[in-house]
Structures are given as C-alpha cells and as structure tokens.
C-alpha cells in the first residue's frame, strides 16, 4: 500500500515542465478513449479544465468522455457516475473528486480492474498512485507574499473562505493566514465563509468593510467570490483603497483585472492542467513509469504581469516554463 498522498512533500514530485525531458517522448495513443469525472461544470475553473482535456485530446487524436456531477456538493452522484464508468472501454480515468474520500470505492474497483486512475487537482485521495495538480496551500501563500511586499507597513486584511470543510478552502485559507500572521505586521480581522457564492461573499464583504474601515485587502478562496467582493468594495466607494484577490484564474477574473477592478488572482492554469493530466494518463496507459506527483503551474496574476500569462498558448507555456526554471 502507498503512503497517504501529500503533494507538498512527496519525494517523487516532478514538475510538469520536466515531463518530456525526464520521461522521453509521448507514446502514440491515436484512437484511444479516456474517461473524465469532473467535480462540476457549474464553475468556470472546472469547465476550463475540461477544455484542456478536449484540447489535449484533439491534439493527440484520442477521445475523452467527460462526466461531471450535477453540483459542487453532489458527492453520491459523482460516485455513482464513476462507478458506472469503470470498465475496459477506457484506457485510464482522470478524476477530480468532490472530497478526499467520496470516490474511493470506484477508485478501488478501477485499480482492481487495472485501469490507471489520475487524481487531478483539489482533493487528495489517500491511496492514489498518480496526482496532477498544484499545491493548494501555495495559492494563499502567494497572495500573502504580495501583501507583505506591497504593504511593508502592514494593515488589516480579511479572508472570504469557500465552503466549510472543503480541502481547497481549508488549505488556501491556512496558507494565507499562516504567512500573513507570521509576517507580524498584518492583522487578520475577519475570516468568514462565502461558500463559493458570489451573493454571500458580497454581503460578507460589505459587513466586513463596515466593521473595519481601515481594511486594506481581501483574499478570496476563488474568483467567483472575489468578483462579488469587488462589487462590494465598489459599492462602498473604496475602489483602489482595498485590494481584492481571487484564486483560479478564470476568464472573468482576467476581464476584471484588466478593467482595474480585481487586484489579482492566483492562476492555476486549468486549461494547461487538463492537457498535462491527459498527457500523464496517456503515458500511464502506454506503460511508462511516472512519478506519483506531477506539479502543475500557478502564478499570481495582476495587471502588471497579466500580458505575460494571457498571450497565446505557446507564449503562456514559455512564460510558465521560465517561471519554473527560475523558481528556487
């Protein structure tokens, strides 16, 4: 049995940009079929991931069947879905579970049927052999670092959290909180739930601004919530005075950054992540040995550097490869 998955500390971790160099060229996979179980399609992040799968599939000449649960918390529905999909028709399954455990039985039966399973983003399945995604905690850390660099004198900041108990929400929140508190100068005046919901985040932000007139910034666990918070900041006439950060890097977030509303977002490059994950699955199907954790890129995108990440796909890739190379 494998030790419990922890992408942050996994000794075998390999960076996405090193796949080709370390594993050699991609195998020929023409005509193969891959199954995808997504978290949901109601959130742009996951739709972009699906786009990535489709792009990758078109490039490599394979078919992907993409299924998604009916909502962000439909755990049992997602399980039924994956159970129904486990079968020899698929060379491998790419899954993004709703929670760490909710797909476990289907994963077990896929393993029993010798179908490779790749866990993509977010949830950490304990005994999974392959994980492709980024470090959720790091999302929050990056935003905290921005504040520390940008406001050397510190100030009051607040967090709008995702749904209570969800892994990504817990990790992102913890990453931001720990980093900003450790810096010593900042005061975290509020950390309240927005439940991934724009309306609730708007209301929460309004109340926080009301209570803490000296607030200098928000960190939100995803972009949807951040866009709600931006509106609350605008409604309170504090635009430019209060920085707002999201997470995910959705198109809407980019539009908002460009318009000068949203300060920034931690882009996890979902389209690219989809392509990378499919690449990993194809290599697995071809029998290659792949490290357990493949780290995907993330970057804090603000108005200053957005051109760098929002150019053509190739340009984006190049930029991210450079990032990876210059990372410590």
């Amino acid at each position: 049995d494998l030790p419990p998955l922890n992408p942050d500390t996994d000794p075998s971790r390999v960076n996405w940009s090193d796949l080709d160099s370390k594993l050699g060229p991609r195998p020929d996979v023409h005509g193969q079929r891959y199954g995808v179980v997504l978290k949901t399609l109601t959130n742009e992040y996951w739709r972009l991931l699906a786009d990535g799968y489709r792009k990758g599939a078109a490039k490599d000449g394979v078919t992907v069947d993409i299924q998604a649960a009916q909502g962000e918390s439909d755990q049992m529905g997602q399980l039924s879905m994956m159970e129904t999909m486990v079968g020899p028709q698929y060379k491998a399954l790419l899954i993004s579970p709703q929670t760490d455990a909710n797909l476990q039985p289907a994963i077990d039966s896929a393993i029993a049927a010798k179908i490779p399973v790749v866990d993509v983003d977010d949830a950490l399945v304990g005994n999974i052999a392959h994980f492709v995604g980024n470090v959720q905690r790091e999302n929050g850390v990056r935003v905290a670092d921005w504040f520390i660099a940008h406001d050397p004198n510190g100030g009051e900041v607040a967090i709008i959290e995702g749904q209570a108990g969800v892994f990504a929400a817990i990790q992102r929140t913890a990453g931001f909180r720990d980093t900003i508190v450790k810096s010593g100068k900042f005061k975290l005046v509020a950390s309240v739930p927005g439940n991934w919901d724009r309306q609730q985040s708007y209301d929460a932000a309004t109340n926080i601004l009301q209570q803490n007139p000296k607030l200098i910034g928000f960190y939100c666990n995803n972009d949807t919530m951040a866009l709600g918070v931006v509106e609350a900041v605008k409604a309170a006439n504090l635009q430019g005075k209060v920085a707002v950060f999201g997470t995910d890097g959705t198109n809407d977030a980019y539009v908002s950054i460009k318009a000068g509303d949203l300060t920034g977002t931690v882009d996890s490059f979902p389209v690219l992540t989809g392509e990378i994950a499919l690449d990993v699955a194809e290599r697995l199907a071809a029998g290659q040995t792949i490290p357990r954790v493949v780290a995907t890129p993330q970057a804090l995108v603000t108005k200053d550097n957005m051109a760098r990440y929002k150019g053509s796909e190739d340009a984006q890739r190049q930029a991210l490869i450079q990032d990876a190379a210059s990372a410590p």
């Binding site: 959130n43 950390s191 309240v192 309306q199 009301q210």
Partner: protein, 324 residues
C-alpha cells in the same frame, strides 16, 4: 407588543388578533437577537449597519414574500432559486446584446411567470404534490439556465441598469424601497382582493373551497406565478448589485425564504401566514448573518449559530405567543 400592534394596525380591525400577537412574537425575537449583537459589537446599532441589514435582507424578503403566498395556499416552491437564475441570465443576455431595458425586463418577467405557471399547472391541474413538483423543476430550471449560458456568467451589465437597483432614495437603498412596495402590494393582495381570500381559503380547506366555488386551479397557478415574478425581481436586485448574472445564482434561496416565512409564522400546512411576519423573519435571518460576520465568527461556528438561532427564534416566538 405595542410596536407590532401599530405595525399591523394598518390591517384594521379585520385582522384576527392572533396574527398580531404572532407578529409581535417575531418582532420580539428580532429585538432579542439585536440586543445580543448590540452588546457584543457597538457597530451593530449604527444607522449605516442597520440599513445594511435591511439591504442584505431585501433579496430574501422579496423571495420570501412570494413563498409566503405559496405556503399560505398550502404549497411550497423549492424552485425559486433556479427561476431567479433563469430569468436573470435571460434578462442580462438581452440587455448585454442591446435589447432595450423595458423589453429585457418584460422578457425576464415572462420567464419568471412561465416558471411559476408550469409549477402551478403541474400542481393544480395534474394534481401532483408541490414539494416534489418544485423539487423537479428545481433541477429543470437550473439545467435550462446552465444550458442557456453554457455555465458561464453573463457579464458587462451597463451602468444604467445597475444604477436602477443600486441607488438610494433618501437614506433608503432602492432594493429596500422595492421590497417595501412589494410588501404593501402583497399585503394588499392577501387582505383586500378576492385572490388573497382564495389563497387563504384554498390553503385552509381545499375541498370546502372547491364546493364554495373558489377557482382552485387559477388561484394556485396565480400564486406560483407571483412567486416566480418575485424571484425574477429578486434576481434583478441581485444582478444589479453584483454586476453579473450567473446561472448558479439563487442557490439555497428556497431554504432562506422558507425559513423567513416560517419564523414569521407561516404554517407549512397552509392557510396561515403573514406579510409582516415574513418581513420580520427575513430581517431576523439578515441581522444574524450580519452580526456573526461583524463578530468574525469562524465558519463552523457560524453554521452552528445559524442552526441554533433558527430553532431559538421559533421557540422564543412560540413562548411569546403562548404568553399573549
């Protein structure tokens, strides 16, 4: 008690005394919660924050008023959120693509009414259970909203549109004023029109109403259509505020609306409910969220407080009623 008496004195002598006492109970609960928060955080009672609470309660109040009518008629409408979403994405798409605003509003309103019509028809003509019908359309309308937009939010609402819902009239935010008007209309419909009487009668005893010649089918359909229309209106307030119409908006609105109506004294058995009570119920829920955020209560404990306060509000209310 005084306060509620004067609130409902507009109802004149024809409101049964029990209703007033019931509303007084809700008011008492509201004030008790407010007192706790006021002690814990001084900001709570600032004029600005109180208006804030009203503003944040306005969307729920709007939906809850429609829900109240539906509940009084002996039904329930779980599909308010998706109805709001569907009408919102349609209106927003039309506005963004340059359709004149009045036309876009008419279109969205029509969608809201149509959603209500389908609910009402399935319930009254086909005779299905309201809970299960609207559980079905909850999925159905949401799916339509998602398919229509392919899941992406509609952005770029023009400033003119947003100004419609974001300004203030004197100290009052426009959404609050809208809800005030809607409440008056709802109160008027319920107390002064045949439709209101029919709604109360159908919810109170459907068989007797049928024999008395109440147009059951039309009454029910009209009730669900009002609920649909108010969901549309709530959606307009929301997208005016957020600047985006998401196909997933309105998630769990039905629970908030039902909670507001129930805290306000509506009986899910039908035949009983009050406009004033529902408004107070919506404000109770609003002040709770506001107060908990001001106190920076952690997510898990907010959830805990929400549960406890719903139950305590019902208990306090019951206690007050018993004493009255």
């Amino acid at each position: 008690m005084e306060a509620s008496m004067s609130v409902s004195s507009a109802g004149g002598r024809r409101l049964p005394v029990r209703l007033n006492l019931r509303d007084a109970g809700t008011l008492f609960g509201l004030l008790a919660i407010a007192a706790v928060f006021a002690l814990a955080t001084p900001n709570f009672l600032s004029q600005h924050n109180l208006i804030n609470i009203l503003q944040q309660s306005s969307i729920n109040a709007c939906v809850a008023l429609g829900m109240t009518l539906v509940i009084i008629s002996g039904g329930i409408d779980l599909s308010v959120g998706p109805t709001a979403a569907l009408s919102a994405v349609l209106t927003a798409t039309m506005i963004v693509s340059g359709v004149p605003m009045p036309l876009a509003f008419a279109g969205g309103l029509l969608v809201g009414l149509a959603c209500g019509f389908v609910n009402g028809a399935l319930i009254s003509i086909a005779g299905l259970q309201p809970f299960i019908v609207t559980l079905g359309t909850l999925s159905l309308y949401r799916a339509l909203a998602l398919i229509f937009t392919n899941g992406t939010p509609v952005l770029g609402l023009p400033h003119a549109f947003r100004a419609l819902f974001n300004g203030t009239i004197g100290p009052l935010p426009i959404p609050v004023a809208i809800v005030a008007v809607v409440s008056l209309v709802a109160w008027f419909v319920l107390r002064k029109t045949p439709l209101g009487e029919y709604i109360l009668a159908v919810g109170g005893n459907e068989e007797a109403s049928r024999i008395a010649g109440v147009p059951i089918v039309r009454t029910k359909i009209a009730t669900y259509m009002i609920s649909g229309a108010l969901a549309f209106l709530a959606a307009m307030i929301l997208i005016g505020r957020l600047g985006a119409a998401e196909p997933v908006l309105g998630n769990l609105w039905e629970l908030d609306a039902i909670a507001a109506a129930a805290i306000g004294g509506a009986s899910l058995m039908g035949g009983k409910g009050s406009v004033v009570g529902t408004l107070l119920g919506a404000v109770v829920l609003g002040e709770m969220r506001n107060g908990l955020t001001l106190l920076n209560v952690q997510a898990f404990y907010q959830l805990l407080a929400t549960g406890i306060i719903i139950i305590v509000a019902m208990l306090v209310d019951r206690f007050t009623r018993g004493a009255g």
